[in-house]
């Protein structure tokens, strides 16, 4: 018996997985049997759409993990910071010049001093710094309410870069040489600090971020009704336009990152660093600078995701919980896989929406289903769908 099990362990394991999968399918199918096809299709579509934004959030976590091996627990709060800064520049009609000046000065000083504070004094660097400050301040303030999109984008860009660089500089960089566990704990500490700071600055009330509005009526879009499939689906499936726009923008951001990652020299350097830090250092790459850039890029991705999520479902501190739901997506896709981030995000989005469909009163979709998936992934395939197998040596 034992011999039989040992010899056929692989097949038996797969048979067990198949059995579990069939049971889950039967259970879900049974639960869904009472629902109309239109509801199921609607849930599937909104799951994919929600999952697009989740994929973007997961991408930010994967990028940092690839580059430095640190799993970023503060990503959710970076989303909140980005979304809140966007809100401040987007909805406030009069942007205070000192405020904008402060933000752009801090950002430029942070960017220019990434290597060390000494470089600020060298060559043309002072000129570049001042020029950058003036440019950013101008982008943030000039033109009044007409240019609110420009202000908001410039402000979010500066704020995200500042957050990412500051976190890297003051929290992660002092830990070089320490075990990775310490760095992971440090991101938890950073999450707490960002939590407090955002709560002081913007409060706990849900803010209205009217970015996805119909330009003609200046109000929220009317949901699309799939009337054409009425007979086929036994009802009308409804799709929210905000989710579609958020999904498309998230995919564009995703594609933009991939282009940046594959076809620019900085992206090449980032890939080299994530392959092997020592090797990258020995061929002359500045690993420290590249790690800082990675954090800035991740913070920028988090900001975009925060804005999209805030525009689609409402902006409040609760957005940070989205990142907690994305952790299962990251593990499902694989910690090192960029494509896996998107696929994992979409799967978690679908799971979440179906959870809500099956049982909307008990928060099954948001508070339970993603974490059950997480447990399953950890037990069955800890490396995720596309992650690297870890080989360890003593």
């Amino acid at each position: 018996m034992t011999e039989f099990i040992n010899r056929n362990r692989r097949h038996l394991t797969w048979a067990l997985y198949a059995l579990v999968a069939v049971l889950i399918l039967l259970f879900v199918g049974d639960q869904l049997a009472g629902k109309r096809a239109a509801r199921v299709v609607q849930t599937l579509i909104s799951g994919v759409l929600v999952g697009g934004v989740y994929g973007l959030v997961a991408l930010g976590i994967v990028v940092i993990n690839k580059a430095s091996g640190v799993f970023n627990f503060a990503h959710g709060w970076m989303m909140v910071v980005g979304g809140m800064i966007f809100w401040s520049f987007f909805t406030v009609s009069e942007i205070s010049v000192p405020g904008a000046l402060l933000l752009s000065t801090a950002t430029m000083l942070m960017i220019m001093s990434t290597v060390s504070w000494r470089t600020l004094r060298e060559g043309r660097n002072p000129l570049i710094t001042v020029g950058g400050i003036v440019l950013l301040t101008a982008l943030m303030t000039v033109g009044g309410i007409e240019f609110q999109w420009l202000h908001a984008l410039a402000g979010t860009f500066a704020g995200a870069i500042l957050t990412g660089l500051a976190v890297e500089r003051f929290a992660i960089r002092p830990l070089i040489g320490q075990p990775l566990f310490t760095a992971v704990l440090m991101t938890l500490a950073v999450a707490e600090v960002l939590h407090g700071v955002t709560q002081i600055a913007w409060g706990t009330v849900e803010l209205n971020l009217p970015i996805f509005v119909d330009p003609h009526t200046n109000s929220r879009f009317r949901p699309i009704r799939l009337d054409a499939f009425r007979d086929l689906l036994d009802g009308v499936a409804i799709v929210r336009v905000e989710l579609i726009i958020a999904f498309v923008l998230a995919i564009i951001a995703f594609a933009g990152f991939i282009v940046f990652f594959r076809y620019t020299s900085v992206g090449l350097a980032m890939r080299a660093t994530s392959e092997d830090q020592q090797l990258a250092q020995s061929v002359g790459l500045r690993v420290r600078v590249i790690l800082a850039i990675t954090w800035a890029v991740a913070a920028f991705l988090a900001s975009i995701a925060g804005v999209l999520q805030g525009g689609a479902v409402g902006l409040s501190l609760n957005i940070s919980y989205v990142a907690l739901r994305v952790f299962p997506a990251v593990l499902l896709g694989g910690l090192e896989s960029i494509a896996g981030a998107l696929i994992g995000g979409i799967i978690i989005g679908i799971v979440e929406q179906f959870g809500t469909l099956l049982n909307s009163s008990e928060q099954v979709g948001t508070n339970l289903a993603p974490y059950l998936v997480l447990m399953l992934v950890l037990i069955i395939r800890p490396d995720g769908l596309f992650g690297e197998k870890r080989i360890e040596r003593i």
Binding site: L185, E192, V193, G196, V197, I200, E362, Y371, L378
Partner: protein, 471 residues
């Protein structure tokens, strides 16, 4: 850090080398500290001696610190000794707290049986969530415990809502010893009031109302000394029912002094026979009485954790932490020891949760959220992971920050920040200052002293013993 002895003290036997207290002076200091800790409530304002040297709030504060010391010590066994990160410790505390509360409310367990029972229950569930450690480790395991942190409160909140009350607070009876002095049995007729007295907060009346042949009745008008009809908050009430759902016994324990009155009336068409049994019991409803349960237990559990690392099991834990592959090659059953660490850690969390429930007399799921798990992890890191005293230092440090430093900082910030930044609302500062101070403390400790306060304490102790020489 190696054991540093004063000049002239040499280890000549193995027992001496392994001893916790090498010199008589070590032992004396520890015993003195323990006795001083036990004397704190006696010197407090409302203590039995009425000395009034120490404010009452410190008694409750030390008790709450001790509860968290137990919980964080459990985390220390898992994180500090065995090297497995847990982000779900608060959820395990929730199991201990709700488990013991439900045992006491629904199953008629006393505190003394609910404490070990809920600790074992928590340990079993801890084992369940330790199972992924067979395949994953380190950060992946942290993810599994993160899942526990969400799944357990969800289960407590929705499927078990009938037992736990869901998001509403759940009241917990105070622990008692007894009842052991029965002094009166009365027959009770329909509508006749029965009075009972509560005076001493430590030696309370227990009124047990045994109902037989009850068909349909209602209990009305439990009246307090001022004549108000009571909600059941001042008086703890335990209800036992038979299989048909009829009440067979009601137990009242009044802890606030005064004269109470209760009336049982049968509803139309109903009838019952009732016997009132009056007796006395030792109650632990007050902070001072709870102190004498919590603090000795905390000291005992600290002592146990201190000794675990001196055993075979403890050495196996440490070897799993330092290098699990090497440990496996040495013949240590890595998975087994990880599970043992999970079990022990969850048992500590369960005890802490149970004590928390009975100390507060009221439970709410909001006390066991992810933030609390992170806070406990931070307390451990700040105190010193892997040091037996780390839990104590960490919890005390964070609590001092929260109770002394933040109230001092808050009015100043509420005054200053809105002037500097006009968009800041002073209302938000109150709740936001806690995560900032606490995250800031963690950042500072991780960057400057990742080994925590306990390491500094060891250095200090060595320097004291070696004075006036440095080595």
């Amino acid at each position: 850090m190696a054991n540093i002895h004063p000049a002239g003290v040499f280890d000549t036997t193995y027992e001496q080398d392994m001893s916790v207290d090498r010199t008589a002076r070590d032992k004396l200091w520890k015993n003195l500290a323990f006795v001083a800790l036990l004397l704190v409530p006696l010197a407090s304002v409302s203590g039995p001696l009425e000395l009034g040297w120490i404010s009452d709030q410190y008694v409750g504060l030390i008790a709450r610190i001790s509860i968290f010391v137990i919980a964080v010590q459990g985390l220390n066994i898992l994180v500090g000794y065995t090297g497995q990160i847990s982000l779900g410790h608060a959820a395990f505390m929730a199991i201990g707290a709700y488990g013991s509360a439900i045992m006491a409310r629904e199953l008629g367990f006393s505190f003394w049986t609910a404490l070990p029972a809920s600790a074992l229950l928590t340990g079993a569930i801890g084992l369940l969530f330790g199972l992924p450690s067979l395949r994953v480790k380190g950060f992946y395991l942290a993810m599994a415990t993160l899942a526990a942190q969400f799944i357990i409160p969800w289960v407590l909140r929705y499927p078990l809502e009938d037992l736990t009350g869901g998001p509403r607070p759940l009241s917990v009876p105070a622990p008692i010893i007894g009842p052991f002095v029965a002094y009166a049995d009365d027959e009770l007729t329909d509508g006749e009031p029965f009075a009972f007295q509560a005076g001493d907060p430590y030696f309370v009346d227990v009124i047990s109302l045994e109902l037989t042949d009850a068909t349909a009745y209602t209990v009305v008008e439990l009246v307090n000394p001022a004549g108000d009809v009571l909600p059941y908050g001042d008086v703890s009430m335990t209800v036992s029912r038979d299989s048909a759902g009829n009440i067979t016994r009601l137990t009242y324990i009044a802890s606030k002094a005064g004269e109470y009155q209760a009336v049982v009336r049968a509803e139309a068409g109903g009838s019952f026979k009732a016997v009132v049994r009056r007796s006395k019991a030792l109650s632990f409803a007050t902070d001072i009485a709870m102190y004498y349960i919590i603090v000795p237990l905390a000291v005992l559990l600290m002592f146990l954790a201190r000794n675990i690392i001196r055993t075979r099991t403890g050495r196996a834990f440490v070897s799993v932490r330092d290098n699990d592959l090497a440990a496996e090659l040495l013949g240590i059953n890595v998975f087994g020891y990880k599970l043992r660490a999970f079990f022990l850690s969850a048992v500590y969390a369960g005890i802490a949760g149970c004590l928390l429930a009975f100390e507060r007399n009221s439970l709410s799921l909001y006390a066991f959220e992810l933030d609390i798990s992170i806070e406990m992890l931070a307390m451990l890191i700040i105190g010193g992971a892997g040091f037996p005293l780390g839990a104590m230092f960490g919890v005390t440090f964070i609590r001092i920050l929260q109770e002394a430093f933040i109230p001092f900082l808050r009015p100043w910030l509420a005054d200053f920040l809105p002037q500097l930044f006009p968009f800041v609302d002073a209302v938000n500062i109150t709740s936001a200052i806690n995560p900032i101070v606490f995250g800031g403390a963690l950042i500072i400790f991780l960057a400057l002293e990742p080994r925590g306060i306990a390491h500094r304490w060891e250095v200090l102790k060595a320097a004291w013993k070696l004075r006036p020489y440095a080595y």
